[in-house]
């Protein structure tokens, strides 16, 4: 029996009647990278929240060096040498990078903070992750990816011996991710232990020494990364084989142009962006974080105003002053940041889905909510979405199911043009394929889709044509059938 540094024995976590984790035993040894995989809602994040002291187990206990420990707060877990780099960025926007890195752990005596020592420590942690970030600028000026890296540096700065990474690479470019992997390998050499959670299975095969699989809150088995492959991992997570599907869409002649963007410009965001979208077509927009792809999507939807250029929707030039104008014209947008821009956390599942379509159920005596719920239920079955009752709060759903609700919000609107910004971010493999299949089916029925994503493979899988953006410029448009990841990257860098 190997010597485990830290382990959970028979832990369960229940929220009311919902069992998030059921009798899970899992451990980690020094010098090990232990990947935990599972679909959305499998209990990965709940388990990690138990490890870092954010939640307490309903049953079972945690052991550090074979001795039982109880974490009342994240501070207790940190004292035990466990720190987490959470999925959601959780920084103080107005404070400097350095201050954020050492927040809550500033060096100093009783008469104030020793800024010199504090700064030195922050710089040291930051340098291990990314030395290109200026430690003195406020965090809100950083890109999403850089903020994620600062978050990781903060976990490193606690001098933890066990680090938990929850989807660390979701917002990172390949270069940044590679640096992170190098750090993780170094940390492992030095005897550190890492819990690693990711939906990117390649990364996991590359990095981990051991893979644990969770499904519906229970531990279903362990895989050996030296012998397993992606298919086996997906099967273990889903408990079933994933349906095969055709590689690329048949490129038939599509219909009329429904959206035409010409010379769209916003200083500092993008310049001279032109493209057209035909009926029944999926146009992928690929580009790194900061390439301007999201900004173009928001501008075409009327969230921001273009400084130059025109937008034609169904052959009619439109001045969009508000998203409502775009929606009226028949174009809708699914935002990148689900939590911040997508869901209404205090409203129910059915209201979240029906919020954009309220006029449909307007009656003489006010809203006909029963009709709304009936239609919501048909969409829940059609997509399908895993829900309890449609009147439950949306926050009771896993991320993937929340995303499906928001997607259904626009399908219900019966808009003919969808702009989807990172529609599958942070969603597990199966849900991702389900959403992609759904979108291809919708395109076959005549919907036109702009599919924005930073994952090249995903854009290749879904689109008919791919527009590549880099630093605010359109670098080219390629048919998906002949494009590869390499050709797209080459185009971006050209």
């Amino acid at each position: 029996m190997e010597q485990l540094d830290f382990e959970a024995r028979g832990v369960s976590k229940r929220f009311g009647v919902v069992t998030a984790l059921n009798d899970v035993s899992i451990g980690i040894a020094a010098g090990e990278v232990h990947a935990v995989i599972g679909e959305n809602g499998a209990g990965k994040s709940t388990l990690m929240n138990l490890f870092c002291g954010r939640l307490k187990p309903t049953e079972g206990s945690l052991y550090r060096h074979q001795a039982p420990v109880t974490f009342e707060t994240p501070m207790d877990a940190q004292r035990a040498g466990i720190a987490i780099a959470p999925q959601e960025v959780n920084l103080v926007p107005r404070l400097s990078v350095a201050e954020n890195v050492v927040l809550g752990a500033q060096s100093g005596g009783s008469f104030g903070i020793d800024w010199k020592a504090t700064r030195a420590r922050a710089l040291e942690s930051l340098a291990q992750i990314d030395d290109t970030i200026d430690p003195d600028v406020p965090v809100f000026t950083l890109s999403k990816a850089q903020q994620q890296l600062v978050q990781i540096a903060r976990a490193v700065a606690t001098d933890a011996r066990i680090l938990i990474f929850d989807e660390p690479t979701a917002a990172l470019t390949q270069r940044e991710a590679d640096r992170l992997f190098a750090f993780i390998r170094r940390f492992r050499e030095e005897g550190g232990a890492v819990f690693y959670i990711s939906h990117r299975l390649d990364e996991i095969l590359d990095l981990s020494d051991r893979i644990s699989v969770l499904r519906d809150g229970t531990f279903v088995g362990e895989l050996d990364p030296t012998t397993t492959d992606k298919d086996a991992m997906v099967r273990a997570m889903a408990g079933r084989a994933v349906a095969e599907r055709s590689a690329t869409r048949a490129t038939t002649e599509r219909g009329d142009v429904v959206l035409k963007v010409d010379g769209l410009t916003r200083t500092g965001e993008f310049r001279n962006v032109s493209f057209s979208l035909r009926r029944g077509e999926i146009l992928g927009i690929a580009g790194l974080v900061g390439s301007g792809r999201t900004e173009v999507g928001r501008c075409v939807f009327g969230v921001t105003r273009p400084e130059a250029g025109t937008i034609e929707i169904f052959g009619k030039a439109r001045q969009l002053h508000h998203p409502a104008d775009a929606i009226t014209a028949g174009l809708v947008y699914l935002p990148e940041e689900r939590k911040q821009d997508g869901i209404f956390p205090l409203l129910s599942i059915s209201e979240n889905m029906g919020i954009a379509t309220m006029e449909k159920w307007r009656g003489v005596f006010g809203m006909r909510f029963s009709d709304m719920v009936r239609e919501v239920e048909t969409y829940i079955r059609r997509i399908p979405i895993k829900v309890g009752d449609p009147s439950d709060p949306i926050t009771s759903l896993s991320g993937g199911n929340q995303q499906k609700v928001i997607l259904a919000r626009w399908l219900m609107k019966e808009s003919r043009i969808l702009i989807l910004d990172e529609p599958t971010r942070g969603i597990d493999v199966n849900a991702k394929l389900e959403i992609q299949d759904l979108l291809r089916g919708l395109a076959d029925e005549g919907l036109s889709i702009v599919y924005i994503s930073s994952e090249l493979q995903e854009v290749l899988d879904v689109s008919d044509r791919i527009l590549v953006m880099h630093e605010g410029l359109v670098k080219g448009i390629e048919p998906a059938a002949s494009a590869t990841q390499e050709s797209l990257l080459a185009l971006a860098m050209s």
Partner: protein, 328 residues
């Protein structure tokens, strides 16, 4: 998990158990129970509490602050706050009084005209907060001073009186034995409850309070709704002001002093969240009634009036503690 289970839609329990569960989930159940218990205790300890005269005094007292609280609830729901409502009530009472005495407008027209004036006052706040995106706390702090100051400039500190017998009906009259201000308060509450629960405008208010950015991105014209909400709050405050003046037969510059905090308190103990997106009209109505019953109980039980504010403070603390434990 099987495919069938994935797409199945669970049903909630029906019948009495369902009704009980529903009551417990109801946002206003706590304040409702508290109000009933307090009334029962007072009915036993001070039998005078249940006399028709006393009850109508309590209800009328509740209706002035209550009207302001209804408006405050709307503003809190969109995630704002309006500190100027008490002063808006005062200024409206004065302007209404001048309409009667100096301009000579028919008494029955004065109330709706004052309400329109109140709506205008509210939309001043709405313009700065909703259109220009300035912080509502700061904007309404400023307009509070301006409205209160304008009242003094107009009146030079003297009340406008008398307002005439016909007009007094709005403050002292009764409809089927119920005081007119109470009828107007309950009618406003009923209409707003309906609007919030059943209309698109109402649901959009909750959506904006819950997530403003997302509301904008689903095509809700956020600033228009916020603008109207501030206008409605001003209108409800002006109604309270003019009805109170009718009750006193005198539009005094001091009308509305002390209503602001009472209104916020009523909304909060009624379950409205200061962060927006959460709260109900019925909760606020119960909150306003609870405050009026408390004040009345202090008088009836011969407790020194100086204790009233201490007790109100304690009630607020208890209310948020109960809420905290219910959430756990």
């Amino acid at each position: 998990m099987s495919e069938a289970a994935v797409s199945s839609v669970r049903r909630k329990p029906q019948g009495l158990a369902g009704a009980l569960a529903k009551f417990r989930q109801w946002d206003a159940s706590g304040i409702f129970v508290a109000l009933i218990v307090l009334c029962l205790v007072l009915a036993v300890a001070a039998p005078a509490f249940l006399s028709q005269y006393n009850l109508s005094v309590v209800a009328r007292q509740a209706s002035f602050v209550g009207l302001v609280a209804l408006g405050q609830t709307l503003v809190l729901l969109i995630g704002g706050i309006d500190l100027s409502l008490g002063a808006a009530a005062g200024l409206s009472a004065i302007v209404g009084g001048l309409m009667l005495t100096s301009v000579g407008i028919h008494p029955y027209l004065v109330v709706p005209l004052t309400a329109c004036f109140g709506f205008l006052l509210g939309t001043i706040n709405g313009f700065f907060t909703a259109r220009l995106r300035l912080n509502p706390f700061i904007v309404t702090l400023a307009s509070w001073e301006i409205f209160a100051g304008a009242t003094l400039v107009i009146t030079k500190g003297y009340p406008i009186r008398p307002l005439g017998d016909a007009f007094q009906w709005f403050g002292r009259g009764e409809i089927f034995g119920i005081p007119v201000p109470v009828v107007i308060f309950l009618a406003a509450g009923l209409i707003l409850s309906y609007v919030l629960a059943r209309t698109r405008f109402g649901r959009n208010i909750y959506a904006i309070g819950g997530n403003r950015d997302a509301a904008n991105l689903v095509g809700i014209r956020v600033w228009r709704i916020e603008f109207i909400v501030f206008g409605l709050a001003g209108m409800l405050a002006s109604l309270a002001g003019i009805l109170y003046a009718a009750r006193m037969n005198s539009a005094q510059p001091s009308v509305g002093e002390g209503w602001l905090m009472g209104a916020i308190t009523a909304a909060i103990i009624g379950g409205t969240s200061l962060r927006g997106g959460q709260g109900t009209i019925i909760g606020t109505i119960f909150g306003a009634l609870l405050m009026a019953v408390l004040a009345n109980g202090i008088v009836l039980l011969n407790v020194s009036g100086y204790w009233e504010r201490v007790i109100v403070g304690l009630v607020v603390l208890i209310a948020i503690l109960v809420d905290l434990f219910r959430r756990r």
